[in-house]
Amino acid sequence: MSERRPRDRASKLLGAVALGLSSAEMIEIARRGAPQAPSAPPPPGPPAGKGMLQASAALLAASVLVDSAIEHYRGSFRNPGMYVPLLSSTLALLSGVEGAATGSEPAWRPVRRSSYKMAVAVGAVGTAFHFYDIFRRPGGFGWLNLFYGAPLGAPPALAVSGLLGLCAEELQNAPDGSTKLRGFSAGRVIAALNAVAFAGNVAEVALLHFRGAFQNPFMWAPVALPPVASGLMAKAAVEPPAKSYPLTRIWLWLTTVLGFVGMGFHAYGVSRAMGGWRNWSQNVLDGPPLPAPPSFSALSVASLAAVGLLEEEARDALPEDKAAA
């Protein structure tokens, strides 16, 4: 214990620093963010999918916000750093909602950009914290600690939310109708990001549903369907853009719905715990996480946005091809 305590204190200190920094950042964002002039009308004809991207960032941030609020409350906010993802995901959520609702109000752009950057940073630091939590437990990096230690897949979701938001902002900034992100195909970049995010999300679900012994056969659905979405996104990222992606679109709508159906299943899971929903104050904490499955929906919406961008890119490229021919 004599060895544990200073380490414990050090991690709490780090957490406090993280909380301080993020609070300061928040104040700074709020200060800078106040719109100086009456807002201009939104720029005409943003490329399809930008609003969707903002919405997906918001949905993912909402999932992270509720999930981290429940889980970190469950952990009694033992480390001050455990408040940070709540602040950051709230900002990302507000930015995403604002961005999606107003068609990207330019006056709020700096706020949104800062919020998304913060989400990426907090997600990265959080991942490191969660790794640390697993390694400090007896048994180290093993099944038991992967099951019950801080979940490794959770903080990266915040980072992905931030990245999606930044992509949306970047596109907003680009000349009208552009489907390029710093010279790269936006659709392909976002597709690649989603391919990875889907894979990470599936890994997390597979781990936790394995922990639940796949006791309900429907627990296989979120490890069976999203890998296909991940594969489709990877394919879209490496292949030249196509005019349309009918199968991909159908599959992504399926995984979008899956996320919300999953929330229903998790609600049913809560009802199966001792005392069911009557004992919600304990069972929502200890039962299957209600806000987790919609993260699939968020990634699916982001993927649909990527598909839209790819289709647009293919259409834009078409006349040139004809000219070349």
Partner: protein
């Protein structure tokens, strides 16, 4: 609340999953011989009843205790819950008399699985041949390989929640459910073991870590040893019994078996039992005794008749002998940080190091040890009796309760003839002679316990515990007294549990263990029952029943 009236009557039995609920139950006439009449509804009897009924045999089970509905009957109170123990009078003797009636007894449908610690470990393969391979005790008439499929069956029936990779024993299929999170008391063992370079593992437990049918996942209430009030614990009451009822078995609760009757040809023909104020008689083609290591020999000895003056199945003279217990000396320490060892199942981490390591021992035999989580009353009792604390001193000690951790082994004892169950002259309220239980540790048993205590202290110390102290008084399971074997001269039953003397008299419980190993026996008892059922089916098919 009174349980003195049977509940399983008039074609229905209590549904343990529903408050006030019932489930239909088939009933058999007493005058018509049933295929199997089983005495005892615990780990052995309930399992066998289920398996035999599912194979199409007609089965009646007599259980001395009540038929619980955990959701309505079990309180979160240590004292009230003593109703799940069998605390009738017994006489104990010997140099180290075993305290009876608590954790080593069970009265009620489900037997002691109602209050067991849910530890579901397999025996080490070598223990089945401990005389030939390890040089002590007796060989079992069956091998690990023969029992392994039945271990798997029992683990699946209980949906044992165990580690993904269990570090000891031969390769095995993964446990059906994943391990529970280990509480702070278990992490003390983990930390200490890691610092000493010894392997540890979360204990495979028969309480579910995820929903299972009508069982909610365990909520870590901590009253496991006093009856689980949520039905997360996979006791025989909620696993085998509902299946048995569904398959057409009849369970008679509050039915105390007094005597097995034999016919002039020397075959068992039924059991005289006391229920609803009077003695009754149930005819049977086969009688199975599943009353555990004290009640089983007691019933056999109480059934003595002119043809079998020394009791039934006792041609070898071994009925009641070679009683074993698992010694449970304790090592305890105070910790600077809060442990709150009452949280979760009482035992969550184990090391089987000294079960699988034979070098470095000044004794024969094995032991494993587990982290502990005694509830306050039990702990006060331990502190008062083993340290002699009382009054202010006891209060001061009890204030450390949330900072305590400790270990207790499941320490093997040697099967010895002089440790035995006999009949005393005193009689109980049914007019049945009560058992007299004599037990003394051998020098080897004592050396084994000292070794375990030394090692447990080292682990506590390595984990950062201080003010370490030990006690030597506790025991847990009781085994032996009707051991199985290959030879009618030196055993009571064969490997199927069938008595050598009376071919339609069987035993199916912990009393048939020739040696007791260093792990909790309930899983092995259930595996043996599953195997016995398969064997009975093949014998029946071959016309040899």
């Amino acid at each position: 609340m009174s349980f003195e009236r049977p509940r399983a009557t008039n074609g229905r039995a209590p549904d343990p999953f529903t408050i006030g609920g019932w489930t239909p139950m088939r009933e058999y006439a007493e005058g018509e011989p049933v295929d199997f009449l089983i005495v005892g509804a615990g780990a052995g009897g309930a399992t066998l009843a289920c398996k035999l009924a599912e194979k199409g045999f007609s089965v009646v089970v007599l259980e001395a205790g009540p038929f619980w509905r955990p959701l309505e009957d079990f309180a979160s109170d240590e004292l009230t819950q003593e109703v799940v123990y069998w605390i009738d009078d017994r006489i104990t003797a010997g140099d180290d008399p075993i305290e009876l009636g608590g954790n080593n007894s069970g009265r009620g449908v489900g037997g002691s699985t109602i209050h067991f610690s849910m530890i579901s470990l397999r025996f080490r393969p070598e223990w089945f041949k401990s005389r030939s391979k390890l040089g002590y005790g007796f060989d079992w008439p069956l091998s690990y390989e023969e029992l392994a499929p039945y271990y798997e069956e029992a683990e699946d029936a209980l949906k044992v929640s165990g580690p993904v990779n269990y570090p000891w024993g031969p390769p095995r299929r993964r446990y059906p459910y994943r391990p529970h999170p280990v509480n702070a008391a278990g992490l003390v063992l983990a930390r200490g073991a890691e610092r000493l370079g010894v392997k540890w593992a979360p204990i495979p437990l028969a309480t579910v870590s995820a929903p299972r049918g009508k069982s909610p996942p365990c909520v870590y209430r901590g009253f496991c040893n006093y009856g689980c009030s949520t039905n997360a614990k996979q006791s025989a009451l909620i696993t085998w019994i509902p299946r048995a009822l569904h398959a057409g078995a009849e369970i008679r609760d509050l039915a105390m078996a007094g005597r097995i009757e034999t016919d002039p040809k020397g075959r068992a023909q039924g059991v005289e039992y006391f229920r609803e104020g009077g003695w009754r008689f149930q005819r049977a083609k086969n009688v199975v005794v599943a009353g555990y290591a004290i009640e089983t020999p007691r019933l056999l000895l109480n059934s003595a008749c002119p043809r079998f003056p020394n009791g039934l199945a006792n041609g070898s003279g071994l009925v009641g002998t070679h009683l074993m217990t698992h010694a449970g000396p304790g090592a305890w320490a105070t910790f600077e940080e809060e442990i709150r060892w009452y949280k979760g199942p009482p035992n969550m981490a184990v090391t089987e190091h000294w079960n699988y390591t034979d070098e470095g021992k000044d004794f024969v035999g094995c032991y494993s040890f587990m982290s502990q989580g005694p509830l306050p009353m039990k702990w006060a009792q331990t502190v008062a009796t083993s340290r002699g604390f009382w009054g202010e001193e006891l209060q001061r000690e009890m204030r450390k309760y949330n900072h305590m951790a400790g270990f207790v082994p499941v320490a093997e004892t040697q099967p010895r003839q002089q440790n035995r169950v006999e009949l005393a002259d005193e009689k109980d309220r049914f007019g049945l002679r009560i058992p007299k239980v004599t037990f003394s540790y051998s020098d080897n048993d004592k050396r084994l316990q000292k070794h375990s205590v030394r090692f447990m202290c080292d682990v506590l110390d390595a984990a950062g515990g201080y003010d370490i102290w030990t006690n030597y008084q506790d025991t847990s399971h009781i085994l032996g007294t009707c051991r199985m074997g290959d030879n009618p001269e030196t055993s009571v039953v064969d490997g199927d549990g069938r008595s050598w003397d009376i071919p339609n008299l069987w035993i199916c419980d912990g009393s048939i263990f020739p040696t007791c190993g260093g792990v909790n026996p309930s899983l092995t008892i259930q595996a043996l029952a599953c195997r016995a059922a398969d064997r009975i089916q093949s014998l029946a098919a071959a016309g040899r029943l």
